[in-house]
């Protein structure tokens, strides 16, 4: 199934934050499946999301979120 524009943009931002090719990123992925998703890139991802989507994540969010699908849903992009 073709990805929506929202999904494409989201995945592009994730790839940029992680410094990896966008083809390696999919919504289904979780933190333990992605080598690039280390603790610094974790923060960098949320910094980028805050700027792009104008949202604010709490310390609790940062500790809790560990899958791309979960974040995507929280941003109401689906």
């Amino acid at each position: 199934m073709a990805r929506s524009e929202n999904e494409e943009a989201f995945l592009r931002l994730v790839a940029e934050s992680f410094g990896v090719d966008q083809n390696l990123i999919a919504l289904e992925q979780t933190r333990d499946q992605l080598d690039a998703w280390d603790s610094l890139n974790h923060i960098m991802l949320f910094m980028a999301l805050e700027r792009e989507y104008g949202v604010k994540f709490s310390t609790e969010d940062l500790e809790e979120y560990d899958s791309l699908g979960q974040i995507y849903t929280r941003l109401n992009l689906g």
């Binding site: 410094g19 923060i43 910094m47 805050e50 310390t59 940062l62």
Partner: protein, 557 residues
């Protein structure tokens, strides 16, 4: 390699240094790194050290004490010891490593509140003292640069650049926008030190240094004053003039008569800039690209050190397409934006300097002293730049429906006007109706848009041939062979057989621009004071000059 030392975690800044190799000091160890002989800071590939100091972290627990002079002195002493370490590192690493330190910013709100500005118990004073000390320190060390983080925070706002939600988990204080601005500022600052900055600011005059067209309004009629829009231009002139103190050379590249421009500088008391301020001037009716090369030759500088400011999109495009090495920024639509636009988009982008030498300060005099021509490497094709505009002309013969615009042109055009005879509306009316006289109205359009009717010619049939009573053109389209194309369509209209042309020229104080037109068409001055010539020879001359392919006369090509 670039090494980043900080008392907070700013590692996410790497997003904006993607092409460079970065090294971040381990958290909390930035001081030790400076002194450690085993540190990656001793790597021979190291070019830059960025030392980013967060103000609140630098002050530490002092921020929770009433900031008496003693408390402030303790913080400053601590800061001094850090600067000593930096000095030692700089002396060891020599000039190969550039050290960039930010101005210190404290978070805006704290328990001292109103005391900050109403008493001596002020952290703001401490912030000021730290930055003063930093400035003195950097001035003594040639390879230490200060990056003005405080100005960035003032411009964008503390609350927009700092965030606390990543602080407790990751010791990150500055958000992505803040880090981007920080990295951009670094690159700008380093560029100002290492790259060749621009040296010459080349300026247009009409609607750039003042409002309106001086050729039409006269030296004191232009918009330049102490209020309204005139003040915007005057303030712009002040901003331009201040650049001279940085060693930037000023030059004029303007389509105007030099005599009237000089008169503006001499007689308009609202002028801030003086004619002497310009290291080179090209005020004439030539193509501006040609003028630009003349200025470069006069100053003996490459055009890659030139920045050109002109309100006309067409002129900007001519320079961009013929002389791509010249930097040509856009121009604001509203004169009210001139100064801010100039400071941000022109001065900050192209003329920002981190050091100033004595020689910078009297550059204009040095350059005015020399005036030698040199060979210019650039290959100029003015022809190409004019063709690039894709000019389309429409010539209307005896049009019925453009009376008011034609009348306006006849009344207002001073510069490119062969006789400056001001025909009244009823005279225009009768010319259009007369079988032996014709009025030609010229409409102009190019790839940037339509200018509408910009030229008028009034011609008549006489026994000995064709007579041009008058021919005039708005000066904003001069230098693009439009005037030659107009004459050619007139000749074609009266053709195809050969005939004699006669045309009077009446010199005024303002129509110097028109003086060379008839001779340039191959007409010669006869004893009766009129320019005369053979239509075939003139056509040949015009064909050599015209660079416009699309000329439509009354709907047919």
């Amino acid at each position: 390699m670039i090494a980043v030392l900080s008392n907070i975690n700013i590692e996410p800044v790497k997003l904006f240094f993607r092409d460079q190799k970065l090294y971040f000091s381990p958290f909390g160890q930035y001081r030790q790194e400076l002194l450690n002989p085993e540190s990656p800071l001793r790597d021979p590939s190291l070019k830059h050290v960025i030392i980013f100091l967060d103000g609140d972290e630098l002050c530490g627990d002092a921020l929770h004490q009433l900031p008496t002079e003693a408390v402030r002195a303790d913080v400053i002493e601590e800061f001094e010891s850090l600067l000593d370490m930096i000095r030692q590192f700089s002396e060891e690493s020599g000039s190969a490593v550039l050290i960039t330190i930010n101005t210190i910013v404290l978070s805006p709100y704290r328990f001292t509140n109103f005391l900050e500005v109403n008493s001596e118990y002020s952290f703001r004073r401490l912030e000021q003292a730290l930055n003063d000390r930093l400035g003195q320190f950097a001035a003594t060390l040639p390879s230490v640069l200060v990056l003005d983080w405080m100005r960035i925070v003032n411009t964008h706002g503390y609350v927009n650049l700092y965030a606390t939600n990543f602080w407790y988990q990751a010791r990150i204080k500055i958000n992505q926008l803040g880090l981007q601005l920080l990295s951009e500022a670094c690159h700008r600052l380093w560029g100002a030190v290492s790259e060749n900055p621009k040296k010459v600011l080349v300026l247009d005059l009409d609607n750039t240094l003042w409002g309106g067209v001086v050729g039409d309004l006269g030296p004191t009629g232009i918009t330049l004053s102490e209020d309204g829009q005139g003040k915007a231009y005057r303030d712009f002139q002040k901003a331009v003039r201040s650049l001279m103190q940085l060693g930037v050379l000023l030059a004029i590249n303007s389509k105007n008569s030099e005599s009237i421009v000089k008169e503006v500088f001499e007689s308009n008391r609202m002028m801030v800039l003086q004619y002497d301020d310009f290291a080179a001037t090209a005020v004439n009716w030539n193509n501006k690209a040609e003028n630009m090369l003349d200025i470069a030759a006069n100053l003996n500088l490459g055009i890659d050190s030139f920045v050109f400011i002109d309100d006309s999109q067409v002129e900007r495009e001519i320079i961009r397409s013929t002389l791509p090495d010249v930097t040509v920024p856009e121009f604001p639509n509203d004169p009210a934006d001139l100064v801010n636009w100039f400071q941000q988009e022109v001065v900050f982008s192209y003329f920002a300097k981190a050091y100033l030498t004595d020689s910078d300060r009297n550059k204009t005099q040095q350059y005015k002293a020399r005036n030698k021509r040199v060979e210019i490497g650039a290959k100029l094709s003015i022809e190409d730049s004019i063709r690039h505009l894709e000019i389309r002309l429409n010539v209307y013969v005896d049009p019925q429906d453009m009376r008011s615009r034609i009348s306006q042109l006849i009344q207002k055009t001073n510069q490119f006007n062969m006789t400056t005879v001001r025909y009244s509306d009823s005279e225009i009316e009768s010319i259009i109706r007369a079988p032996d006289r014709h009025l030609f109205a010229l409409e102009y359009e190019d790839r940037f848009g339509a200018e509408g009717i910009i030229g008028v010619a009034i011609c008549g049939v006489r026994p000995e041939g064709m007579h041009i009573y008058n021919l005039l053109l708005s000066c904003r389209v001069l230098g693009r062979t439009v005037e030659f194309a107009l004459l050619k369509s007139i000749l074609t209209f009266f053709g195809p057989d050969k005939f004699m042309i006669s045309a009077p020229f009446v010199a005024t104080q303002r129509n110097e621009a028109a003086k060379a037109f008839y001779p340039g068409c191959g007409l010669s001055l006869e004893e009766n004071g009129e320019y005369c010539g053979d239509s075939n020879l003139v056509l040949q001359e015009l064909d050599r000059k015209i660079l416009i392919d699309e000329v439509v006369v009354d709907g047919s090509q």
